[in-house]
């Protein structure tokens, strides 16, 4: 998926809650690429496409778990008050 596609997809999934602007999108993509979590290639439409790598999938699991913990904790904290 290319940068604009990713941005639009996020917008779509989150029902418009998260609109990722290019100023945040590209730095994030490039950092993940440098970390080796995603790999990039130039597609046929003269656009740069990104794909999740094996390391990226692992990292995603880690991050998802962590996020799950955090959101659970925050929800608990909010409920308690």
């Amino acid at each position: 998926m290319h940068g604009l596609g990713i941005s639009r997809r996020i917008q779509q999934i989150t029902g418009g809650t998260f609109a990722v602007k290019p100023g945040s999108l590209f730095p994030a993509l490039h950092r993940m690429e440098e970390e080796g979590w995603i790999s990039a290639f130039w597609g046929d439409r003269r656009a740069k496409y990104y794909r999740l790598t094996k390391a990226g999938r692992k990292q995603l699991e880690v991050e998802t778990k962590r996020w799950g913990r955090i959101s659970w904790a925050i929800a608990q904290a909010l409920d308690a008050s």
Binding site: H2, G3, L4, K21, P22, G23, F26, P27, A28, H30, R31, E33, E34, E35, G36, R45, R46, A47, K48, A55
Partner: protein, 884 residues
């Protein structure tokens, strides 16, 4: 694995930065195109679609910059690009760059040179293993420590003390030897040392061995240890040298060891032979030796002091007549003693040269500030393009650091050259000075200095520049009147600082110059004009008795005096101003019978005529004052005044303790005072006795411990008779090597060489600071003139004449100068107290010095103001009004 990916990314970012950049460029571009397409599909017209797309994307450059900042290795990239940019900027203004770098070269170079000396003399340990365990033992007197010790005390201390691994004594004066080498005798430096000498220093001979206890006891055989130099020179570096012999003073000495080439003793020597001290408190020749000790591992200086206190009291109990009432034994750290009063002077010089660097930094900061004004628009543009404040400060600091690094590189070269000059100015005036060089400590110091200075002179301008309000700068549009007041204020403060620091240095330098002048004006007590001095080592079997020595001295004096170019010639044990050994004495019939020390000189009859010292009362010695006639002595005026208070001392008697002459001797004359202890010390009480009347053991002892000095008063320039004197000496004895031919003038100059060095150094620093602050002031006023060109034009158009304009500008300069001088006088009053121990004959707060230094500074500063101010008056009103 993740690390590998990161490394690959880093390398790619670093080496293929162009490809990475194009990639980013294309990606953003394609993103934009896709946005436009999307908008068109949504039914927007082309123009509208493009506009909406651009709005959503935001600033393309800012997006790219944000991506770049995320990159691995970004910091390195930006530092490098900062450096490249800095270099480009510096190249663009060569005049600024040259002046800034030259200023820093001077400042950092001078600092590096002085620090090298501080490092070499104060910081670097003595070149002996575990040198922190080395101590020197001295006799503590009421007036301070006296490092000369009697043989008997040394032997007693060595036997009774418990904290030392080894203790050794050596000749204080190191008379040297006459080495028979080929046809002509040659003088070699040498010392007599007790057997443990090398063990105390912790250095073993490279070949052979050092002395055994038997060799250091009375009756031992003649053996020697030689230096690496002498070994190469005499034996061509033959490794089987031990057992061979060298001829010293006409006697064969078996070589038992060769010291390594790195070994240096102080004073330096080429030959060491055993010292054989004898325990005999009544008659051991007096204090003639220096005593060193190596503490046992773990023993502290404190422990040594208390142990030696006990040993000292023991000596006093056992031999109450031979230790003064107030005398103690003191133990001091050897290095600390070697460095002694040099420490203070060096640290003061380091402080002074630090001030010079401060002035240099202020100057460069000033230059940077004037550039800052010219660059405020550039900075504003860069802020507008998305550069952060910290990014700008970093860029400017990079520029400063580049300047400082180049300056310190050149400064390092400059300091090498300075060091050479220093070594030439004052050879051997400081311990370990001759081996001072630039080592890793010095390099580290210089590098640290470079970064420190970069921050000091770069930070203020950088903060100021990056702090400019964006709109102000852009709107100011390079206008040179409004908005720059703040810059001018800071620059004025910097110049005030430069002026005040320069004034403090100038006052210090003036004090030292007056000190030197005062010392030069002191009457040394001798008339040095046309006097030649030379030294002879008379030790050896030929000169064991007074009569043999006397015979030789008389023959040399007679033959030399018969030379047509010579007025008078005489021998003396120690030259004027070169403090010699003291001898205790007691005046007959004086109620206070406590014994006192006096400088002691054995002379031949013509001595006072040869050195030009007046006889105030009584008579000179004659040839008739010999071994058979009653003992006589000539005292100096200080001694006469101290003990005879108005009475004539002629005909009174005194006893010289320590057994130099037998019985009591009659005072037959009073001579004028000679500054035997250096020009900056008052003349000490002094005793003169005829060399012919010394007792044999004392003559033998003196011949061993001090080289005899021969003084010749010539009719013309003293060095013109060297060859003649040399010939007469060799004619009298072909084995005695004369050395150290010097005019008496150099002997005098030698005694104030340190003051001269201090004066020259501080004078140079003050001159540098003065020059730098004049340049700084010049810069500030020129800048003010440029700022006010417009104003001046208006004033002149409205009728102001050149004088008014000149006054206007000069007044601005004078304000800075006056404040600077006021602060400087305060600073000088505070700081000159530090050098009160280095000055002579002038008070640190001397008003005349303060006045003349201030006046000199004001004159220079005024010129630095006046020259650019004149330029303002040459302004053509029409041109000035059109300016901008």
């Amino acid at each position: 694995m993740p690390l590998l990916v990161k490394v690959r990314s880093f390398l790619r970012n670093f080496f293929f930065s162009r490809r990475v950049e194009t990639d980013l460029d294309q990606e953003v571009q394609s993103h934009l195109e896709m946005l436009i397409e999307e908008n068109i599909r949504a039914g927007m017209p082309l123009k509208e679609a493009q506009r909406a797309a651009r709005i959503e994307l935001g600033s393309i450059e800012q997006v790219k910059e944000q991506v770049r900042e995320q990159r691995i290795g970004n910091w390195l990239h930006s530092v490098l690009s900062d450096c490249r940019f800095a270099l480009r900027q510096l190249r663009k203004s060569p005049a600024f760059t040259t002046v800034a770098i030259l200023t820093l070269t001077l400042g950092i170079g001078a600092n590096t040179a002085i620090f090298s000396v501080v490092n070499g003399v104060l910081i670097r340990p003595l070149p002996y293993p575990e040198s922190d365990r080395l101590v020197e033992l001295m006799r503590g007197q009421k007036s301070g420590n006296d490092e000369t010790v009697e043989a008997s005390k040394f032997l007693f201390w060595r036997q009774q003390s418990r904290v030392f691994e080894a203790m050794a004594a050596f000749d204080i004066f190191g008379t040297g030897f006459n080495l028979a080498s080929g046809g002509q005798p040659e003088h070699v430096t040498g010392m007599r040392v007790s057997p443990d000498f090398f063990r105390v220093l912790g250095v073993r001979p490279a070949i052979g061995r050092d002395f055994t206890a038997e060799e250091g006891a009375p009756g031992g055989v003649n053996v020697s240890v030689i230096s690496n130099n002498l070994w190469k020179q005499q034996f061509g570096g033959d490794t089987s040298v031990t057992g061979k012999s060298i001829s010293l003073n006409g006697e064969a000495y078996t070589v038992v060891g060769v010291m390594p080439g790195s070994f240096e003793s102080r004073p330096s020597a080429d030959v060491w032979v055993p010292l054989r001290p004898v325990f005999n408190p009544q008659n051991d020749g007096g204090p003639l030796f220096i005593v060193l000790g190596r503490l046992k591992p773990g023993a502290t200086l404190k422990a040594a002091q208390s142990d030696m206190k006990r040993v000292g009291e023991q000596f006093r109990t056992d031999f109450p007549d031979f230790m003064g009432k107030d005398e103690t034994v003191t133990v001091v750290d050897y290095q600390e003693h070697m460095v002694g009063d040099v420490r203070r002077a060096l640290l003061i010089l380091l402080g002074a040269v630090g001030f010079v660097l401060l002035v240099a930094c202020a100057n460069v900061a000033n230059l940077l500030l004037s550039r800052a004004t010219g660059r405020s628009r550039e900075m504003a543009v860069r802020v507008a393009l998305g550069a952060g404040r910290s990014r700008l400060v970093r860029q400017l600091l990079t520029e400063s650091t580049m300047l400082a690094l180049v300056g310190s590189g050149l400064g390092l070269l400059f300091s090498k050259w300075c060091l050479l000059g220093l070594l030439q100015m004052a050879p051997g005036s400081l311990p370990q000075f001759s081996t001072t060089h630039i080592d890793q400590h010095v390099l580290g110091f210089t590098l640290g200095l470079a970064f420190l200075t970069a921050v000091v002179f770069g930070l203020a301008p950088a903060l100021q520049m990056s702090g400019t309000e964006l709109n102000d700068s852009l709107q100011e549009g390079g206008a040179r009147t409004a908005g720059s007041v703040r810059h001018t204020r800071l620059r004025d403060v910097l110049v005030v600082m430069e002026i005040s620091v320069s004034l403090a240095l100038l006052v210090g330098a003036t004090l030292l110059i007056r000190t030197y002048a005062n010392l030069r004006e002191i009457n040394p007590g001798v008339d040095p004009r046309n006097v030649l001095t030379v030294k002879l080592s008379l030790s050896g079997s030929k000169f064991e008795t007074t009569s043999a020595t006397w015979e030789f001295l008389r023959k040399v004096v007679d033959r030399t005096e018969s030379l047509p170019a010579v007025d008078a010639a005489a021998f003396v044990t120690v030259l004027p101003l070169e403090k010699g050994p003291d001898q205790p004495f007691q005046i007959e019939g004086l109620r206070d019978s406590e014994y006192r020390d006096a400088q002691f000189r054995a002379i031949t009859p013509g001595y006072f005529r040869a050195v030009g010292t007046p006889l105030l009362q009584g008579r000179y010695f004659t040839q008739a004052d010999n071994a058979q006639s009653p003992g006589v002595v000539i005292i100096n005026e200080v001694l006469a005044r101290q003990y005879f208070r108005g009475r004539s001392p002629i005909g009174e008697h005194l006893t010289v303790m320590g057994g130099a002459v037998t019985g009591t001797v009659a005072i037959i004359g009073v001579a004028g005072d000679i500054h035997e202890d250096g020009l900056d010390n008052p003349p000490p009480p002094t005793l003169f006795v005829p060399a012919a009347q010394l007792v044999d053991p004392f003559t033998r002892l003196m011949n061993k411990v001090v080289a005899a000095s021969f003084v010749v008063r010539a009719k013309a320039a003293p060095m013109s008779i060297v060859a003649d004197v040399q010939r007469e000496l060799l004619a009298c004895d072909g084995t005695v090597a004369a050395f150290n031919f010097r005019p008496m003038e150099s002997v005098l100059a030698g005694s104030i060489v340190r003051q001269r060095l201090n004066m020259l150094l501080l004078g140079t620093f003050a001159a540098m600071a003065l020059m730098l602050s004049a340049v700084g002031l010049y810069g500030v006023i020129s800048y003010a003139v440029t700022l006010r060109t417009h104003e001046v034009g208006i004033r002149m158009a409205l009728g102001a004449d050149q004088g008014d304009v000149l006054g206007l500008i000069v007044k601005q300069g004078m304000r800075v100068i006056v404040i600077g001088v006021a602060v400087g006088v305060g600073l000088a009053l505070l700081s000159t107290r530090l050098i009160s121990s280095m000055i002579y004959g002038v008070r640190p707060t001397d008003p005349a010095t303060l006045g003349s230094a201030s006046l000199g500074l004001v004159v220079v500063a005024f010129l630095a103001t006046y020259i650019p101010a004149r330029r303002a008056t040459k302004v053509d009103p029409m041109v000035a009004l059109r300016y901008e």
